[in-house]
Symmetry: none
DNA sequence: TAACGGACCTGGTTA
DNA sequence: ATAACCAGGTCCGTT
């Protein structure tokens, strides 16, 4: 079993997130992984429609064209990225990730996140006026959110956040059919011990003391 | 209240059609045409969506897999029958026929009739709550419909219930959904008596003996 | 251009 | 509790 610690510098969030970092799969603990800074891409204060039953987040065109399109096929044209699926790791850590279909709706001339978005809204109880925040660390993408009016402090992008440079796959160009289950599964339990978020991968054979720690939560 | 055999010969319909047993459209009276019994495949009480602008009829999976798929490519897999076109003769006779595209929508895991369906809806003035009925006689397919609540008896009381010498297959009447909502036609109760499946339309005022028979099941 | 058809998506309900 | 089904909805290409 793997156990990985993640520190974060991020300010407090209501949801209490510790900024998690997924372990590099290598497990070579002390590897010479260069640590990549997580940099802020963009925020959006979500509208009622974004969190309503339309099941989509309108991505402001500027943000889409500046931060997302360049990631797809080297910035290929709109038509070139039908059904792109972006995977965003939970900014709080825990190893969870969200996959959103990203596409362009010609009818409204806007970029949207569709499939997968409403799951995030539900899970994080996102409400109109809250802010979603997208970050990037190398090729890895992160998503997080904060409550409306949640502190000025929190809104500051993380000053530094170290993550392993090992890059898991990020973008899938989907002929898609997979549906359902995919990314929903939390990939391992997560526990905060001593102020540090720990992810338990392959939680089959936990040491007893850890099991106890988990039960206590 | 009405009581009707489930498989065929629905007796009179408002539209004047006998769902009827009309055999092959012979004409060639004396020929050695074997008369193939028209056997019932399945019914569906159509939903508002089925007759609305979606231009499609959702075919309940059981029906599709039991009655339609086996006809396509010898029961080949779903993927094998993209865009099959099925031709259904008008159950009332007259030589008219309807062609429907039959396909599988992977995203919702459902079977549908698409192209051609709305023409049928228009022509027959199909409305939510009405029932479409699919039959087969050998390789020939038939489609018919009846008005909601058209307790078969209402228009022309069947003097007697014709019982075919050979009871067609299971004749399951509708494991269909009972959406909690709205004005959907009350699904007739269904009961097997004397080895025959009977549908009870308008089960308000059952004769006592039938009520007893039902309770016994 | 409006309408149609095809594919996709999702939540409520049910098995 | 989970998974399957499907009614009702979306966008978009074609006609």
């Amino acid at each position: 079993m793997a156990l990985t610690a993640a520190w974060e510098s991020r300010g407090a969030e209501q949801e209490g997130g510790g900024g998690g970092v997924e372990p590099s799969r290598s497990g070579k603990g002390g590897n010479g992984e260069e640590r990549i800074k997580r940099e802020h891409m963009f925020d959006k204060v979500v509208t009622p429609s974004d969190v309503g039953k339309l099941n989509r987040l309108v991505v402001p065109k500027q943000f889409a064209e500046r931060h997302i399109l360049p990631r797809l096929l080297g910035g290929a044209a709109r038509a070139a990225c039908p059904g792109a699926v972006l995977r965003f790791e939970d900014g709080r850590g825990g190893g969870r990730a969200w996959a959103f279909r990203f596409s362009y709706w010609g009818s409204s001339q806007s970029y949207v996140m569709t499939k997968g978005w409403s799951a995030f809204v539900r899970d994080r109880h996102l409400a109109a006026g809250d802010t979603v925040s997208f970050c990037r660390a190398g090729a890895r993408l992160f998503i997080d959110c904060r409550r409306r009016g949640a502190g000025i402090v929190a809104s500051a992008p993380p000053t530094r956040l170290l993550v392993p440079a090992v890059v898991p796959q990020v973008v899938t160009l989907m002929p898609q059919r997979s549906t359902s289950s995919d990314e929903r599964a939390p990939r391992g339990r997560c526990v905060r011990l001593f102020g540090v978020d720990l992810e338990l991968a392959g939680a089959e054979t936990l040491p007893l003391d850890l099991q106890l720690a988990l039960m206590r939560r």
